[in-house]
């Protein structure tokens, strides 16, 4: 079975990694494929979430409980460190999302659109359109 067929245990035993992979790819795919700036950020968020999953799942110890001190001495705890790390990472992710959304708001104010294709077209006109002045910081 192990040589020719599919090792089901191998695959199922690592389902958290597959989940991570799928989520990551989904996130990246959205970022790549969507032209809408907000949707790209959504994709980015999914991508980051995949990483959170990876960290949290690797902190899991089989049979372990949540890492909250109990009175029972032989309690097995899950590793708390990844959780702490991911708390930080979530904060970072939120901050990033906030900055990104703020930027999108400003882009919408300046360009009148949040579709990347249209923005690129506008910018292309700024560069090469009639009377365009490259490098002129005054738009």
């Amino acid at each position: 079975m192990s040589d020719l067929g599919i090792d089901l245990d191998y695959i199922m035993g690592r389902y958290n990694y597959w989940l991570f992979c799928i989520l990551m790819m989904t996130g990246l795919y959205i970022t790549v494929s969507r032209g809408n700036l907000i949707k790209k950020i959504v994709g980015l968020n999914i991508f980051q979430t995949a990483v959170f999953m990876l960290y949290i799942s690797m902190g899991k110890v089989i049979g372990g409980t949540a890492p909250i001190l109990t009175e029972v001495p032989e309690t097995i705890y899950s590793n708390p460190l990844p959780h702490v790390l991911i708390l930080t990472a979530i904060v970072v992710g939120i901050a990033t999302t906030a900055v990104a959304l703020a930027l999108v708001v400003r882009i919408r104010e300046s360009y009148g659109t949040i579709e990347e294709d249209e923005i690129l077209e506008l910018e292309h006109d700024m560069d090469f359109g009639s009377g365009a002045a490259q490098g002129d910081p005054v738009a």
């Binding site: 990246l28 790549v32 032209g35 790209k40 990347e116 560069d127 090469f128």
Partner: protein, 564 residues
């Protein structure tokens, strides 16, 4: 002694002060005194390396004093004084500063004990000297100067490449005799060869020297090529290849010198031929040959300088150095004529002149080594020198068909410089013993034997006779307005034709018509512009999605590579 002292320092410091010295006699005096200060720095020191220090693990030595460097240092200094006198009338601060920096760089290079210092000053001579060409301030001189600069800087770049290779190979950057054989030494030889005007690398000289100012050409003729000879004597003595290069170098310019109409260009070809003698001397490499090459280099600094000075004086007074416009100037410029004839006698190696006591050493060295082809070739080259510079040049300028010009005699400064140089040429010829005492090797040599004297006189007299007959019978090329093609054709016509078409193409693309880009895609330039130009994929602002794609792709590729 302060750690950074080198004769070059005196020149550089002096050059910085030039603008603050009032123009006129005071500045003339100042410029003539600077080389004396340079001499004071190195003269009388016991041989050895001074001012050595360590930079990035490499031993730098700013002042190596030995017989060879002292000889060249002294000759350069004296020549710099004479050039300053010659330029007494000059009121052009740029040329004055450039001359000082140029002379200083040459001095610095001569005293360099290591290759890095040599390189710095090597480039220094290139950069400083180009201003002597640009100072003519015409479109043509700007272009010629640019070509000159590219070649000279190129020589420096090749030199540094060679130095890096050598350092890799030997772990040392000391400037000592090298053995040809590794890529490093070949590269260094090529760099020196450019400055030395080896055949096919020579053309910068004939392009640039006649394009400089009156005084600029005189200054240029002194330093660059002699510095290269010095480097050959120091770096490649006894390299057999140099003998053949030297012979080719001594012979081929003869034809050009006989054809040229521009007298300053005639002189550059004759200088080129004389350099050939020195290169042969370096190639033979026996103590006598080295002495001969060094002596000839020094002698040639003065007699060639004298010839350039006299032609410069003619140019200064008549506005032209074209043989076709000159002739019959002996009437009104007799002193210039006499000095020119002294120079001509020296290059013809007439006894009692400097050329006789120096050139015969190289010929004798070839004779002692029983190198018959070398000897006979050099003899032929000497005959050529007598013919084109000893006879034809003064004939065309001062005698020949009267061009109708009646200019005033050269100004006092020029006359003084020419007079002193002429005196020096004769002094060396009359008192060879004192001159020989300065040479690097201690080899007894007596130029004034009965045989030497008589055969040399025979040679000169018969060539003169041949010249007289040839002029009469029209066996020599007539002086005509026009130019003679040389290897500069390759880069001035062939290459510029090719580059011109590419340049036009790029210019067309630059204007940005999309149609043009599309139709020129087949051209390499078009492709580069298409890829890298402002609208090209390399320069374009990519959509975020595409950027992320690139990242993902690279991640995948790297993973694959890592797992293989």
């Amino acid at each position: 002694m302060p750690e950074y002292l080198t004769p070059a320092l005196a020149y550089v410091a002096a050059a910085l002060l030039v603008p603050f010295v009032p123009k006129g006699a005071l500045r003339g005096l100042y410029l003539a005194i600077v080389p004396l200060a340079g001499i004071l720095i190195f003269w009388g020191l016991t041989p050895g390396t001074y001012n050595a220090f360590n930079v990035m693990g490499m031993q730098i030595g700013l002042m190596r004093v030995d017989a060879l460097s002292q000889l060249f240092g002294l000759a350069f200094s004296v020549a710099a004084i004479l050039a300053a006198l010659y330029a007494w009338h000059l009121r052009d601060t740029i040329q004055q500063i450039a001359t000082l920096l140029y002379a200083g760089s040459a001095m610095g290079a001569v005293f360099a004990a290591d290759l890095i210092t040599l390189f710095v000053f090597w480039e220094g001579t290139a950069i400083a000297s180009v201003f002597l060409i640009w100072a003519r301030r015409t479109e043509g001189s700007f272009a010629a100067g640019m070509r000159y600069l590219i070649v000279q800087i190129g020589s420096g770049v090749i030199l540094i490449a060679g130095i890096v290779l050598l350092y890799r190979e030997t772990g040392s950057i000391a400037f000592t005799a090298m053995e040809l054989g590794s890529p490093a030494t070949w590269t260094i030889l090529a760099a020196i060869g450019i400055k030395c005007a080896f055949p096919f690398l020579h053309n910068w000289m004939h392009d640039a020297y006649p394009s400089a100012t009156v005084t600029g050409t005189v200054v240029l003729s002194i330093f660059t090529t002699k510095l290269a000879i010095y480097a050959l004597l120091r770096g490649f003595p006894g390299t057999e290849l140099l003998i053949y290069i030297g012979i080719a170098m001594a012979l081929f310019p003869i034809v050009f010198a006989l054809l040229e109409n521009d007298l300053r260009r005639v002189l550059t070809y004759s200088l080129n031929s004389q350099l050939g003698f020195m290169v042969v001397g370096a190639g033979i490499g026996t103590p006598l040959a080295i002495n001969g090459a060094a002596a000839h280099a020094v002698a040639s600094i003065f007699y060639q300088g004298l010839l350039f000075m006299s032609v410069g004086a003619i140019l200064f007074r008549t506005g032209t150095a074209r043989a076709t416009a000159l002739g019959g100037l002996y009437r009104t410029m007799p002193l210039t004529m006499i000095f020119c004839l002294v120079g001509a006698a020296s290059i013809s190696a007439l006894p009692l002149t400097s050329g006789f006591v120096s050139k015969s050493m190289i010929l004798s060295a070839g004779g002692y080594e029983k190198m018959f082809p070398v000897w006979i070739a050099l003899l032929a080259a000497s005959i050529g020198a007598i013919l084109h510079t000893g006879l034809r040049l003064p004939y065309l300028a001062f005698f020949g068909s009267d061009g109708g010009l009646r200019p005033k005699e050269a100004p006092g400064g020029m006359l003084a410089a020419m007079g002193l140089t002429a005196a020096l040429c004769i002094a060396i010829g009359v008192m060879p013993a004192a001159f020989y005492a300065l040479l690097p090797n201690d080899v007894p040599y007596e130029p004034y034997t009965f045989s030497h004297t008589i055969v040399q006189l025979q040679l000169v007299a018969f060539v003169a006779l041949a010249f007289a007959l040839a002029v009469k019978r029209g066996l020599l090329p007539k002086a005509e307005r026009g130019i003679v093609l040389d290897t500069d054709w390759i880069y001035r016509r062939l290459l510029s034709a090719i580059l011109g078409s590419i340049g036009r193409l790029i210019a067309g693309l630059w204007k940005g018509a999309g149609r043009m880009i599309a139709s020129s895609l087949n051209w390499g330039a078009g492709i580069v512009y298409h890829l890298h130009g402002p609208r090209g994929p390399f320069a374009r602002t990519w959509p975020t999605g595409a950027m992320v794609m690139v990242v993902a792709f690279l991640l995948g590729m790297t993973l694959v590579v890592t797992y293989i």
